[in-house]
Assembly symmetry: C2
Homo-oligomer: 142 residues x 2
């Protein structure tokens, strides 16, 4: 697999532009942060992490950058109940499993080839453009 975001030294290279969004210094750093630790950070988590590289960045800018990335389909915004939004660079269709004992959020993928209509009673004529699935429970170690 070719990883064109990684350079021999290990530092990620993020192109000038992604999906029509110009990668400014701030957007690049925000995106890099999301790619680095895929632990579903909140905007504030991202802010704290990005500050190490760009100490003068503001929280408002982090919100702006995240919004721009989300609107261009580069990043996904994930909401759990009424908690702070979390952000995730995995834009492939997937759901989440929230382990209540550890607080860790795991990505959950759909089995290939399954169709919504296979397991749901949908009102006739529904055209689904977006799926949001969140599971909660425990990850029993054995």
């Amino acid at each position: 697999m070719v990883d064109n975001l990684t350079v021999p030294s290990g530092e990620m290279v993020i192109p000038e532009e992604i999906s029509g969004l110009r990668m400014t210094r701030q957007r690049r750093e925000v995106y890099r942060t999301l790619l680095q630790d895929r632990d579903h950070p909140t905007a504030n988590d991202v802010f704290l992490r990005v500050k190490e590289a760009l100490p003068s960045i503001s929280l408002a800018t982090v919100y702006n950058c995240l919004e721009a990335l989300v609107q261009h389909g580069i990043v996904r915004q994930v909401n759990f109940e009424r908690e702070s939004s979390r952000f995730c660079p995995n834009v492939a269709e997937h759901g989440h499993f929230h382990d209540r004992s550890t607080g860790v959020i795991h990505d959950v993928t759909f089995k290939p080839g399954v169709n919504l209509a296979d397991f749901l009673d949908l009102p006739p004529g529904t055209v689904v453009t977006d799926i949001e699935l969140t599971l909660r429970g425990q990850l029993s170690s054995h």
Copy 2:
């Protein structure tokens, strides 16, 4: 003093107690409101509706009542993205389809006998206690 046991003809009778929760005048009216129009109202929507029967009720009380009803498993709290929470008296397991063109929210039931593991790749050892499923799209009339 107001007799809170008297039920005007044609209105729903809600017992003294449900699932261990004492039905006060306010809780009863909040619950009655949810049962009457199952359109997934917000706390504020409920507030406005309940005010017609109990003009002196406060928004804080509506929040208190909804919280009590939710915690006793009588009502379900439903969150769509970062919007206000919505409340639903259907506590059977179900998901939601949000029609983006009309804003209407439809309940969606799971087909009988389907299992999560049938369509999801779950990390081994996951014990799921709670499922939240939201679909978005349009309901094309034909």
